[in-house]
């Protein structure tokens, strides 16, 4: 007769199924989307809380998420461009006002000469037209165009692998810096001033390891967003 009172070995016993068993387990870790691989692009953008706008920049864009139509030199195959930054367009206001003032000079000159302050008859009317035409051409192409180009090509890029800073000024100066995300140690931003607070732009600082150059994205729009995205990326990057 079998002994029905023999207790079962607790190790062989099946685990007790209950409704509370799942709640006692460790909370499931959030799925980390790998940083590389083009098939992961949309997942990566979604996990970083970024919007895909279809990639098209316009002439005055200064903050753009997922600029897929932008290409840059030495782009790696698995590199995904996440963020495209320029100075806020409002930072162009000083040179814009200067250009406006410069364009008024011939008008003021002519007005003063009609009141007899001095003579503007330095040459015949056709010649005068040519000189003024050249002056306006000089202001338009020399001053406005060069300043716009300087603003246009001062770009900072954040990819899933690197951070790239392209500096361009005074026509003949171009400087390109890049660092791996794993080299970035500290990220912060500064937003001081009334205009910066109203129009939401500020300076983002990236401190890098060792002798690698520190990065500064000056007067970029939505600095808190930039910091959030870079911090999210840093959380997924194995540090060197």
């Amino acid at each position: 007769m079998p002994d029905i009172f023999i207790d079962q070995d607790p190790q062989d016993a099946p685990p007790i199924q209950s409704e509370t068993s799942e709640s006692l387990e460790k909370p499931a870790e959030k799925k980390q989307v790998p940083l590389t691989g083009m098939h992961n692009k949309h997942e990566l953008l979604k996990s970083l809380g970024m919007k895909s706008h279809g990639g098209g920049l316009h002439a005055l864009s200064s903050y753009f998420e997922d600029p897929s139509k932008v290409n840059f030199t030495n782009k790696l195959d698995e590199e995904i461009l996440l963020l495209f930054l320029r100075r806020h367009f409002l930072t162009n206001l000083p040179w814009f006002l200067k250009a406006f003032a410069l364009s008024l000079i011939p008008v003021i000159f002519e007005v003063l000469s009609t009141f007899g302050f001095f003579s503007s008859n330095f040459t015949d009317p056709t010649g005068k037209l040519l000189v003024y035409g050249f002056y306006y051409f000089f202001v338009l192409s020399g001053y406005i165009f060069v300043n716009y180009m300087t603003w246009f090509y001062n770009i900072s890029l954040v990819t899933n692998i690197r951070i790239i800073d392209i500096d361009y000024s005074e026509i003949v100066f171009e400087h390109v810096d890049a660092t791996k995300l794993s080299q970035v140690e500290d990220v912060g931003y500064k937003q001081i001033g009334i205009l910066r607070s109203i129009f939401d732009y500020g300076d983002v600082h990236l401190q890098t390891a060792g002798t690698v150059t520190n990065f500064e994205f000056l007067a970029v729009p939505h600095p808190e967003n930039v910091i959030r995205i870079i911090n999210n990326l840093l959380g997924r990057t194995p540090h060197a």
């Binding site: 920049l57 330095f122 040459t123 050249f134 051409f137 180009m149 246009f152 090509y153 026509i171």
Partner: protein, 74 residues
């Protein structure tokens, strides 16, 4: 007699000065065009990059036009 040369010298100075200025400016515009092309190679920020190159090219053409006009008119 020297009094008659005054306006002539003034005209030549104006013409010469203007031609030198516009000539130097055309060289500057050529540098701008080259830089626009170089920056496009560094970063191609969409169709606006091409537009900048065309604008720089148009500037050179206008500059040459002004130079020729100055040569004829002044």
């Amino acid at each position: 007699m020297l009094e008659n040369f005054g306006p002539i010298i003034q005209d030549y100075l104006l013409k010469g000065g203007f031609l030198i200025l516009s000539g130097v400016y055309i060289i500057f515009l050529i540098v701008v065009l080259q830089q626009a092309k170089a920056m496009k190679r560094v970063i191609d920020a969409g169709p606006v990059s091409n537009l900048l190159i065309y604008f720089a090219l148009a500037n050179i053409l206008v500059g040459i036009l002004i130079f020729v006009a100055a040569l004829v008119i002044l």
